[in-house]
């Protein structure tokens, strides 16, 4: 009998990376088995992107020099680029979150509670979808296209782009985990699925179309506004200096609080009786 084995911080990081690598590997194995699904999901996301692009292009096509709440055609393209990156990340790594309501209801989270690794990592990241790589390619291409239509790439854009991308992906994780936490409070309510849909719908347009308080709520509390709106504002130079620093700090703190909330909510999991 070996007794408790204490793992160093470095060991923990190594273990988490090994788990992610295994999720990535089994994702590839799974998709190698379901090849048509691979293709279908790529096309599905292309449909999602196309519908968004066409909708905005049609709206801007209705009149010359149209802007939507101060966002011109080029700025909206940058906005959509970030939206697609966030979506590609969600489809690649976080799609298991969609199944959380039924997993709670059917008692499928028993193994997650038993595993010696963070529940957020083991649950949300377990379904790696390699087609996301193709989606990422499309999303980045469109983001690049959007940025070039804004004018020549400046040093400011290149400097702020990694930070904007980090915020976009961080927010995607925070939103998925936060809405998952709600699901434990209202079992079988489909609340998280409903809010994901609502959040996606609300964040699918530049947030300046909403009143100030709604906008602040969507950025600072939910924070679906950080999926595309805030990153686009950062690279377009509309958010900088102390405001940018405050935004990044707040989003990281909010994210950590949401992760803690999820871990706490997970304790409400009652499993299934059988």
């Amino acid at each position: 009998m070996s007794g408790a084995r204490h793992i160093s911080l470095l060991g923990k990081c190594r273990q988490r990376l090994a788990i992610l690598r295994q999720f990535l590997r089994v994702g590839l194995v799974r998709k190698a088995q379901f090849r048509i699904d691979f293709l279908a999901q790529v096309v599905m996301d292309l449909c999602f992107y196309s519908v968004h692009i066409i909708t905005f292009e049609l709206l801007f096509g209705m009149g010359d020099g149209f802007t939507i709440a101060g966002w011109d055609r080029a700025a909206v393209r940058v906005f959509l680029g970030f939206l697609f990156v966030a979506d590609a990340f969600m489809m690649t790594w976080l799609s298991q979150g969609w199944f959380l309501p039924q997993d709670i209801k059917n008692g499928n989270l028993d193994p997650v509670r038993l595993r010696p690794a963070p529940s957020i990592l083991v649950y949300f990241f377990q379904r790696f979808s390699p087609e996301g790589a193709v989606n990422f390619l499309c999303a980045f291409s469109y983001l690049g296209y959007g940025l070039t239509t804004c004018g020549p790439l400046s040093a400011d854009i290149i400097w702020t782009l990694p930070l904007a991308l980090f915020l976009c992906i961080w927010a995607e994780v925070v939103v998925a985990v936060g809405l998952g936490a709600l699901e434990f409070l209202f079992v079988n309510s489909d609340l998280s699925r409903f809010f994901i849909e609502m959040a996606q719908t609300a964040s699918g347009k530049p947030l300046d179309i909403y009143k100030r308080r709604v906008r602040q709520f969507l950025i600072l509390v939910l924070p679906v506004g950080v999926l595309a709106h805030v990153p686009a504002e950062i690279v377009l130079g509309r958010c900088h200096g102390l405001e940018l620093l405050g935004q990044v700090t707040w989003q990281i703190l909010l994210g950590l609080a949401v992760f803690a909330l999820f871990r706490r909510s997970f304790k409400r999991y009652e499993s299934a009786l059988s």
């Binding site: 096509g61 009149g63 079992v187 079988n188 309510s189 609502m198 609300a202 699918g204 179309i209």
Partner: protein
Amino acid sequence: MSKALALLAHDLRLLRHTTEYEFRKVLAFRVGFVVRELLNGVAHPAVMICLYFALYAQASSEAIGGWSFPEIVGYMILSACVQKMLFHHRLLEVADQIFTGHLTKFLVMPFRFFTLPLGRFVQNTLLQVAIATLCYFAGLYLVPDWWPRPASPSAAAQAFALVLLGSACFLLAYYCLAILAFWLDVVWSLSVMFMFVANFISGRMIPVSQMPPIFEAIFRWTFPYWALSAPIELFMGRTPEGFFLEGLGILLPTLLALELLRRVLWRLGRRRYVGAGM
């Protein structure tokens, strides 16, 4: 003949039971009921109203693409009501049942499996029609200035008929996609893909008549257009004479074709079913 009638009576009895059972399921969880049944489909039109408000606020003319802002608001309100009534892919479980092998238990029972999704369709339609009607009249009472009114009672009835037929087409289309699970292991992406395209064609994002004429000319040949955008315009009195008949001319043959396709796919698929895991 009597045997066929007895079979039909049996199916109808079963349909009644299935519908009742589905009602009990949706009423079992209160928060779930509010979220799924009451709030379902309202977010998108609300966001689109905000978007259009921003667009119209800086436009030089009162109308864009033939639509004034109050008309667009009316369209989006009606769009929310219609979307509640339309069948959507999440109401079907058949693909999962094929994948996990849980279909087996139904296949050995003396009834037609399609009665189960049909029961869910009837339940969903009855409930959503009731909720949409209540919401419509509540809105009419609370904000009468902004709320859209029917051009005539017959226009409202015709629009309602188109929505119901369109919803039945959605049921069959999603069902056909779902039973492709007999051949493919994962089919949800096909349903979602179809949903994205159907949403656009139906005019959920932008009224079809506000799009360039080429879009409208093409979309008029498809059932999603006749399930949402067309009934709303009919309701608002923005359509020419004979519009309703044109809609029936598209929806009824589509319904028939989808039903035939469903039967063929089911028959062929059953031969491939292995009942995994059972």
